[in-house]
Assembly symmetry: C2
Homo-oligomer: 221 residues x 2
C-alpha cells in the first residue's frame, strides 16, 4: 500500500531501509522530540506523524522510553564519531600534540556543522541537546557513566596546555560544552533574526569561530 513498497522489493536494500515502518517512526519521533520535548509528545503523535499504526512503537522498539534511548544512542554515537575523527586528524597533523584551538575545533565543529540550515542532521542536534537535559534517568546515567569520549578531549587539552591542572581543564571543558549546549531553540531563532530570516552556512561558520575565539581565550586565561 505504501508508495515505496515496490522500490523496497529489492532485498539488497534491506540493510539501509531495514523495515520502512521502523525508520518512519524513528525519524518522526526524533523530529517531534526535538521540537516539543519527550514528555509533550505522545506515542499517538509519533505514529500519526509517521503515518503508521499506533502499535508500531512498541512492536519495533519495545517502549516509548526505549525509542528515545535508541535515537539518543545512535545520534550521540554519530556525533562522537565525527569528533573523534577530527581529533584523530589533528593528532596526525601535529605528531600527537595538536594545539589548543584544533582540539577545541574537533569538539565544536561537528555539532556546529549539524546546525547548518540545510544539514540533514540539524534536527538531530536539537534532539541530542534536548535529550541530554530532559531525557530519562537511563540517559542521564549514561551521560554520567560513559565519559570515555570526553576523556580523550580532556587528555588532548591537558597535553596542549600542560601548565593547567586537571581540575582547570575539567571545568573549562565543562564551560565550553555549556556554551554549546545552551544553543536551544530560542537561540536558533535569534540566529535567524540576526540573519534576517535566513540562516546561511556562513552564519554557522561565523558562530563557530566566535565560539572558538571565546573558548580558546578562556582556556588561555
Amino acid at each position: 500500500m505504501s508508495p515505496t513498497t515496490d522500490a523496497a522489493s529489492h532485498e539488497v536494500e534491506a540493510a539501509e531501509t531495514e523495515a520502512a515502518t521502523k525508520n518512519l517512526v524513528f525519524v518522526a519521533a526524533e523530529r517531534l522530540f526535538a521540537l516539543h520535548g519527550f514528555q509533550n509528545v505522545s506515542v499517538r503523535d509519533i505514529t500519526a506523524a509517521a503515518g503508521v499504526n499506533l502499535a508500531s512503537v512498541n512492536y519495533h522498539f519495545g517502549s516509548k522510553d526505549a525509542l528515545l534511548f535508541d535515537i539518543f544512542k545512535r545520534r550521540t554515537a554519530e556525533l562522537n564519531r565525527e569528533r573523534a575523527k577530527m581529533l584523530h586528524e589533528a593528532n596526525d597533523r601535529h605528531d600527537g600534540n595538536p594545539p589548543l584551538r584544533e582540539v577545541l575545533a574537533a569538539l565544536l565543529t561537528p555539532p556546529l556543522r549539524w546546525l547548518a540550515p540545510d544539514h540533514e542532521r540539524r534536527i538531530s542536534l536539537q534532539f541530542v541537546i534536548r535529550a541530554r537535559s530532559e531525557g530519562t534517568d537511563e540517559i542521564r546515567t549514561v551521560l554520567k557513566t560513559d565519559v570515555s569520549h570526553l576523556r580523550r578531549f580532556s587528555d588532548a587539552l591537558l597535553r596542549a596546555r600542560p601548565d593547567l591542572s586537571p581540575e582547570d581543564v575539567y571545568w573549562r571543558l565543562h564551560f565550553t560544552l555549556g556554551m554549546l549546549h545552551n544553543n536551544r531553540f530560542a537561540e536558533f531563532d535569534r540566529l535567524n533574526v540576526l540573519s534576517e530570516g535566513q540562516t546561511s552556512e556562513a552564519d554557522v561558520v561565523t558562530l563557530l569561530e566566535r565560539m572558538l575565539d571565546f573558548a580558546e581565550a578562556g582556556f588561555n586565561a
Copy 2:
C-alpha cells in the same frame, strides 16, 4: 487542624505568611519541579508533599501552569534584583564605567551565591534553570520578549569594551550565560564528587572565580 493554626491567629503576620496553605504549595512545588521537572510532577504529588488538599493548587493559583509561572516570575525577579543591585554598586564605584570583570561578577555572583550548600535559594536556582528550558510556552515567550534586564548588562559590557561590536557582545554574553545555565544536577553532583561529598561555600567561590576567569578572557579575546 494544622499544627501552625494557633500561631497564625495573629492577623499581623498575614503579610508574611499570607495564606499558609498557599505558601506550602509554593515551596513544595518549587522543590519538586526543580528535582524532577514540570511534566514529571503531578498536582497530587505537590499537594501530598505540602500536606494540603488536592484542590489547593487550583484554588490559590488557578492552574498548574499558573503555579509554575508564579514561581518562575518571583524567583527570576529576585535573581534579577540582586544582579541589578550589584551592577548598580559597580557603577557607583567607577563613575558609571565599571571594568569588565565587575560587570560579569554582577551577572554571575548572585546565582552562584544561591548555589551554596546551605543557601535557602539553592533549590530555587535549580528550579529557574530547569524552568528556562523545560517550561511552558508562556515562560519561553517571556524569556524572548522581556530582555530589558539583559540589555542593562550588554550596555555595561559594551561600555567596558567599546572596541567590541554589539554582535560580539551579544554572542559573548550568550556564551557566558550558557556556561552558567549548564549547571544542572549532574554538575552539582560533580561539584560534590570533587569536594568528596560535601560542597562547601569555598567551592562555590572557587567556581565563581573559575567562571569569571574564563568569561573575562573570552570577552578580551
